[in-house]
Amino acid sequence: MTTPIQRLNRRALIKAGAATVAASVIPTRWAIAQTKPLKVGLMLPYSGTFAQLGENITHGVEMVLAEKGGKLGGREVQFVKLDDESKPELGPQNAERLVKRDGVDVLIGTVHSGVQMGIHKVVKESGTLTLVPNAGNAAVTRDLCAKNVFRTSFTNWQPAYAMGLALGKKGVKKASWITWDYAAGTESAEGFKQGLEAGGGQFVSLLTLKFPETNFQPLLAQIQGLGVDAIGAFFSGGGAVQFVKDYAAAGIKVPLCGSGFLTEGTLGGQGAAADGIETALHYGDGLDTPKNNAFRAAFKAKANREADVFAVQGYDAAQLLAAGLEAVKGNIEDEKTLHAAMEKAKIDSPRGAITMSPQHNVVQDIYLRKVTNGQNKIVSTIAAQLADPGTGCKI
């Protein structure tokens, strides 16, 4: 038998119960922000010449997320992928689309230096946290550096400096540098010159040709007359294949060396012409550390091909992002703590330990490698924890 009081009590009970449930389900505004998935924009080349680089970087990023159980700093992650096609003219508008229309919290990109400048212009203004997984143009962490932009790859200066240093220390007295006449080429030449001089050598001349021309003959024919003990070069991709083959065919006695990209991912096409070439880079074959072995095995299981330096750079971009987000427990609005945590982060990279310079460029060991049996075998560490000079940066 029910009395009115009992009914009232029951209603009150239901109301109270509903209120409790509601309170636990409808969170406060702060909590809403934290449980909403973190939007990470991947602005990378998924078509064209650099498509595989973009894919390997993406695999690297996804591997970190899988290791962390699908969450970064306690938040789910939602990827927004955008193919930048490596077209510099589309850079600003693509970056704008991710930042403004899709409202990404973090932007990871990209490979091509020209496109990077477009991204940089947009995120410098919007303040979006940005991680650079490849493009090595100095400006991004020199005179145009920004507090919200971090790079986990390299600057063109770094490997070239180490190569120059290695030559100088080996007793090479005079050397010249050959490259395409574009920003990356000029920056690498500057690094090589400084490294060579630091090692006690003398920089003789810079030989250039127009990008991306492959008629190297007029330059090769004058090498013998330069009176140098070594030639260093910065070319990449197909240009590197053609250059190394032409250099070998020209029968030049002066030994060839270079920035690591000269023989990176190109050895199949270069064949015997590349045998014995020494290059400098922040990664290489035969790096037998538990971290690297585990990384390579996991990458192969995921992507069904061997990992490369680009996969490492993408992996580390995500590792650095994870370190930052863990420090702020997913609250990406707390920029000060976030940036400070990323600046201080010590990342256990497959390439070895890395940190960030005050200008937000990666500080890393650069290895001397030698082409042996179709691999870039690591010979030694030339420059331990080498930082880019970061000239002109004010953060």
């Binding site: 008629n215 330059l219 007359g225």
Partner: protein, 290 residues
């Protein structure tokens, strides 16, 4: 600058100049006889190079790729003339420019769909994969000599055809006095088709021949198209022998510029073109419109 490296540069100039001749001879013939400014000529060179790459990859031999590119060029040129260019001879130059520009976009997009956008190298045939020392500390890949010889043979064949055959006489007449050719009752359509097919085949052959030395990559013909126009303008529009000497001259200036004055080399050939145009507005061997 040592004497031996200078000699090596002369050889480099010759090789580059002969390649330029192969490309620009087709361009100058097509302009001279048909009056069409073919901006897609550089893309035809690109198609030749990619043909060499694709065929060499499939059958493993460049020796098959070369005739394939040559015959493919004749076929492609005939189709383009018969179904496209034929309707544009009477149109304004602007229409022709738009047509050939559209062809550049179509050819590049087609290349992107069929082969992709990667930079590929084309292996030199194994039998020729050795170098011949020419001066102290500088050797020359044997294949480069083959390219020089092939270019000279093709140039000679072209001269004989233009200067010693009836068809050649008609072509020369069509370039200089087209109304006379019409008045003599010669079917101009056959002349047009032949010239366009040969011009296209020359561009494709040049691309295929040079593919092992340049690698193949997107838009590889763009730069050569511009230089070829310079060659044609300096040599005189429509003049094959003009194109020959002018190509050798440009090859020499460009190579020496790259070797000894890299900063100025980009400008040198254009300065030369400006001087020639001021001195002889019709080019060194030009006759038309005087």
């Amino acid at each position: 600058m040592t004497l031996s490296s200078f000699l090596a540069q002369i050889l480099n100039s010759l090789q580059y100049g002969l390649l330029l001749f192969l490309i620009s001879s087709g361009l100058t013939l097509i302009f001279g006889v048909l009056g069409v400014i073919n901006l897609a000529h550089g893309s035809l060179y690109m198609i030749g190079a990619y043909t060499a790459f694709v065929v060499a990859r499939a059958v493993g031999s460049l020796w098959i790729a070369l005739p394939v590119a040559m015959l493919g060029g004749i076929l492609l040129g005939s189709l383009l003339e018969r179904f496209l260019f034929r309707y544009f001879y009477k149109r304004e130059h602007l229409d022709q420019v738009l047509l050939t520009f559209a062809l550049i976009l179509l050819f590049e997009e087609g290349r992107s769909l069929l082969v992709g956008n990667d930079f590929y190298s084309v292996p030199i045939p194994a039998a020729l994969d050795f170098s011949i020392p020419i001066v102290e500390g500088f050797s020359y890949a044997a294949y480069r000599f083959v390219v020089i010889v092939c270019c000279l043979v093709l140039a000679a064949a072209l001269f004989v055809w233009i200067e010693r055959t009836k068809m050649g006489a008609i072509i020369r007449a069509a370039a200089e006095r087209p109304e006379m050719v019409d008045a003599l009752g010669i079917d101009p359509r056959r002349v047009h088709l032949t010239v366009f097919a040969v011009g296209t085949a020359l561009a494709l052959t040049a691309g295929a021949l040079n593919a092992p030395l340049s690698s193949v990559y997107p838009n590889m013909g763009d730069n050569l198209l511009i230089i070829s126009f310079v060659v044609v303008v300096i040599g005189g529009l429509g003049s094959v022998s003009g194109a020959f000497w002018s190509a050798l001259l440009i090859g020499l200036i460009d190579t020496m510029g790259k070797a000894y004055a890299p900063k100025a080399s980009g400008l040198a050939i254009y300065v030369l073109m400006a001087i020639v145009l001021l001195w002889r507005p019709n080019g060194l061997f030009g006759q038309r419109g005087t």
